[in-house]
Subunit: 640 residues, 2 copies
């Protein structure tokens, strides 16, 4: 445990990682070819891009919405990442045009927002709770930082600095400033990025102010709204993470995405300001989330009521509201924890979320999206709930509140940036994916290449190409789920190094052409949930490597709840390149299915033991469910 | 099966049944002493009684609500029943005063409604869907019929006939009439009661019109509202049971109480008009409800979304919306089915609903009520849902929409009317309860007396006191749950008569002083739900006689989901007179509880087999749960 946290690791930027043919490259290619242009078209067709021209007038269609800029900003950010790995002159030109549009839309005081400049010019900063102004500002900042990093061009960064400076002059505890904070956290992370990009300390201080002011009494949202519903510690305060100051909260509560964006900002600020107390709070919140409030898919959010976290071990499967954005936010938070404390537990959670709760958010075709990502679906039951557009039985093209598609697109475009990092004379490999990177370690340029079919295959081969022989430590993560990992160097088995916080470090003088191979055995695992989880008692989930599996109706017939897995049943894993974009499928020849035998015309009866027949059960990765039409799905399966 | 249905049985009126000390008498006494006066006070204090004076003006408090009259009417109806069994001069005077108030409030055209006469005089009959005008009319009619039967005084009946005549002149297919029907069914049953009380055929025809017009295209609610949401067969049509004509509906759908009130009206109309086709529809709907959509408690309603029935076998426990009124409506429907077709299946369902889903609706003290009656509760989860006042974790004093308390009070006041009926030279005993009745059979007056501690005790003794020896058949229901029933007459065992549709009929020449005893063995039953029920797979409920049991946190500790019932575990039943008003309690000394052993700090793991410890499990009748503070509750228990 770090008493005083610091940014220990230096990430290898997405700029410097080239994906090679494999799981993530294929996902990123779809993202680049389909999702990114589709998000652009949606932003254009819904009026989001025109809105930036500030020409909208009352009575016209496409009235700019408060959070529209955030979608455009996330598309800009994604484009920045994409341009670095997939040069594209047309895309670059479009990005330039929109960036110039934003620059032209900036007020003399630096303010940027296409809604407030046109629809409600007098209402700026009057409803921080609901109006998402600081949230959209945060996304514009993240876009500007990414564009600067991608292109080296500072122009847009300077424009956005003007906006950030305006915000800095507007908010704070000093006389004459608004003592508020965002209704939807986001800007905290963004300000730390801006601080890192510019070295300007004010941005870091402003991020810390937003975090520390939150939850102080009298509550700003109460003062702002004069709404008595804010009195006391009711559901409004909980939803907005301000029932008490963030450092005093026992566990993260409220709206799941906001909670995890806030946590990400807290970790950033803790690391940059070396704030040991805040770091302890972050560790506590992280532990609570991943030990008590996280779905096995890495999804977060247990109720559609205000899209909230609820309470420890409350993880209902059918009514899960595991928003794609919340799983992405968990990746953000884990990445930030990992940077300060290189421990595989953080990368394990990132990997769990990425391969399951994040990737379930987008269809294989890249143009349809889930918002909530339930772990069990019955189409009739889901359709009964009428939760509007965010239903969970089939992916949709777009949402009125379309944060998830735009979050997916920026995450996948930058996925390479989460694989590697360095510290002093060590290189860390956190996530496995076919890729090539050029990095500097021990003052020397080294090319690292991963050759692997992970997550389907259990072997990762790394080629190490320093410019000339150099000594450094190559620290490879042995995932927490893995038992019996083994290694070889240049074809010779070696004893597994003793793991340091889950990383197998090989320190040696690396020669050009050295090859390290690691095998991470991937037997199918039957996973139980903690006995305190009401939803999963008596049930198991199937996992293989980092992949969580599910059963779909298309493979197993209707009434999935009738299926059960005998304790002794053998489970076969076989890779099927032609199925669902190429996935490893599990089959259980000796599964069981409850029959209706003896039940004619009765709903309740003493008839026992239940009549069962043998059925082959087929499980596919959770992330690819709902790519073959509507039907039932379940992650958890009764064991008997 | 009756080709042409008719009212086969003649019920013995509540007027002619005196409850003796026992289960229902104790419930009725609480109802009379506490619930009835409390409902009166609530009607008074909320302005419902003043509203009838038609003096309310805009700006004053207690603005009359559209359905307020229904609460007053249900209290009047309950008072009528109560006065017949518990003479009470003060109550009689109060009833007289309110009845006179209603008479004085009647418009020259016969119209009565305290909301529309004061708040929206121009809006009469303009929003049949939502305004509950025909619903409140129905309750006023039921009150008038009950008061007439209780007192013999026709005055109020004539007043209400004036209103019914006005409705008859207003609605129908004839030119110049409104071709509408109620948004909330109720008046159909009421009109049949009025027809029976007056012999006026127009009321029966009007009831049939309301039923048959429903669901015809173009939809009246669409025409009325001009709301495009009514186009197609969307959720609005389903909620209101008008997605198609009622005779063509495959299964009852939509709002549960409305569906079952409608079914009750359909059965009445089928029986009175000898409509074989409509009767077949009723049988189909009944079978679908009790074989596929009924909670084990007799509760009906599977989602809080529009308080609806959902689909076959969809019976979620925690989010059940088994409104007390819907269980009461199921009793109404079952009673009407039974009257046409004397078959124990109907009485079995009535008994299931009465002892479980209805009686759970009111506290032991008689002054607190549930609206929905879930079968599993976790207080934290329930509080997360924020469904407003109708929460399901603790009974409440009253509701803004207070249909359930007023329904309970009228049902309990008339409970004796569901015990006995006659046909030709037979007497049927449907429900067992200590009581005395005077009835006419084979043209002779007979006093029947039941001496029993049912439902706790398995023995029912009947004394038969004809004025002089007379031959008739005494048909005693052998409940469907019962195996091995036995009988004796005057202390001599007799062979069980062959059951006729579940009734054991003893035809003999009865002498004054004859005594029949029947024993209905009540071992504890482990009941499973049909394998198609997703919610209850792998679980059992415990029943004894007609009583469904549940586990409460106060007896079993928190985390009830950790408990399980080994297949071989012995279950003891013991009556505890001092507990919860006197109930038979079940204990399972060798139950099991999942422990946390081996789970420190992990949420998902392969650790198996799960660690369990022995725990004594205690179950109490579901109807009396939540009388000892807040806590978890579950009806269904894992079996292993």
């Amino acid at each position: 445990m770090n008493a005083k946290p610091r940014r220990t690791l230096t990430p290898v930027s997405w700029r410097d990682v080239r994906l090679e043919d494999g799981y993530w490259k294929r996902k990123q290619d779809v993202n680049h070819k389909t999702t990114l242009p589709m998000v652009y078209r949606k932003c254009r067709d819904t009026g989001r891009l025109d809105a930036i021209k500030l020409q909208w007038k009352e009575g016209q269609p496409h009235k700019p919405h408060v959070f529209w800029d955030s979608d455009v900003a996330k598309w800009l950010e994604a484009s920045a990442y994409s341009l670095a790995t997939h040069p594209d002159r047309r895309l670059a030109a479009t990005v330039r045009e929109i960036v110039e549009r934003y620059a032209a839309s900036q007020g003399p005081d630096g303010y940027i927002n296409s809604h407030f400049r046109t629809v409600r010019p007098r209402d700026r900063w009057t409803n921080l709770r609901a109006d998402h102004e600081l949230y959209t500002a945060g996304h514009l900042i993240e876009a500007a930082v990414a564009l600067h990093e991608a292109t080296g061009n500072r122009a847009f960064l300077e424009v956005i600095r003007g906006f950030a400076d305006h915000i800095d002059q507007t908010f704070g505890r000093e006389m004459g400033k608004i003592r508020g904070y965002p209704g939807h956290q986001e800007i905290e992370m963004a300000l730390v990025k801006l601080y890192r990009a510019t070295g300007e300390n004010r941005y870091l201080k402003l991020a810390r102010y937003f975090l520390d002011e939150r939850g102080r009494k009298p509550l700003y949202f109460h003062l702002e709204s004069n709404d008595p519903a804010w009195a006391g510690d009711g559901i409004l305060s909980i939803t907005h993470q301000c029932e008490k100051p963030v450092r005093k909260m026992k566990a993260l509560t409220g709206h799941a995405v906001r909670a995890l964006y806030m946590l990400s900002g807290m970790i950033d600020v803790a690391g940059e300001t070396r704030d040991a107390k805040l770091w302890q709070v972050c560790r506590r919140h992280w532990a609570n989330i991943v030990q008590r409030r996280m779905y096995i898919t890495g999804g977060i959010g247990s109720t559609p009521a205000q899209e909230r976290l609820t309470f420890d071990y409350d993880l209902p499967n059918e009514t899960a509201y595991a928003e794609t954005c919340a799983a992405i936010a968990l990746v953000f938070a884990g990445w930030r924890m990992l940077r300060i404390e290189p421990d595989r537990q953080y990368a394990d959670v990132m990997e769990r979320a990425l391969h399951n709760g994040v990737m379930s958010g987008v269809s294989l075709t890249g143009d349809r999206f889930f918002y909530n990502n339930p772990l069990r679906v019955h189409p009739l039951a889901a359709s009964m709930e009428h939760r509007g557009e965010n239903r969970a039985i089939i992916r949709r093209k777009w949402f009125g509140c379309s944060c998830c598609p735009t979050n997916i697109v920026r995450l996948l475009a930058s996925i390479g940036g989460y694989f590697y990092s360095t510290v002093d004379d060590a290189v860390y490999v956190h996530l496995y994916a076919a890729s090539t990177t050029n990095l500097t370690v021990a003052d020397q340029r080294v090319t690292l290449r991963q050759i692997t079919d992970y997550p389907w295959s259990d072997t990762v081969e790394m080629s190490v190409e320093p410019e000339s022989a150099v000594t450094f430590k190559l620290a490879l993560r042995v995932p927490g789920w893995c038992e019996g990992a083994s290694m070889s160097i240049n074809g010779q088995s070696i004893a597994m190094p003793r793991l340091q916080r889950g990383y197998a470090g090989i320190k040696r003088r690396w020669q050009p052409g050295d090859r390290v191979a690691m095998t991470l055995p991937m037997p199918v695992r039957r996973t139980s949930a903690h006995p305190a989880c009401r939803a999963n008692v008596g049930m198991v989930a199937l996992e293989r490597g980092p992949i969580v599996y599910c059963l779909e109706q298309v493979d197993n017939g209707a009434d999935l709840h009738r299926l059960s897995l005998p304790r002794e049943a053998v489970i076969h894993a076989r890779h099927q390149p032609g199925l669902l974009g190429g996935v490893t499928v599990l089959t259980i020849p000796h599964g069981r299915r409850l029959t209706d035998k003896g039940w004619s015309g009765r709903l309740y009866d003493g008839c026992s033991p239940a009549s069962q027949v043998r059925q082959t059960i087929t499980a596919v990765p959770y992330a690819v469910w709902a790519n073959r039409g509507k039907g039932e799905m379940t992650v958890w399966l009764r064991e008997n």
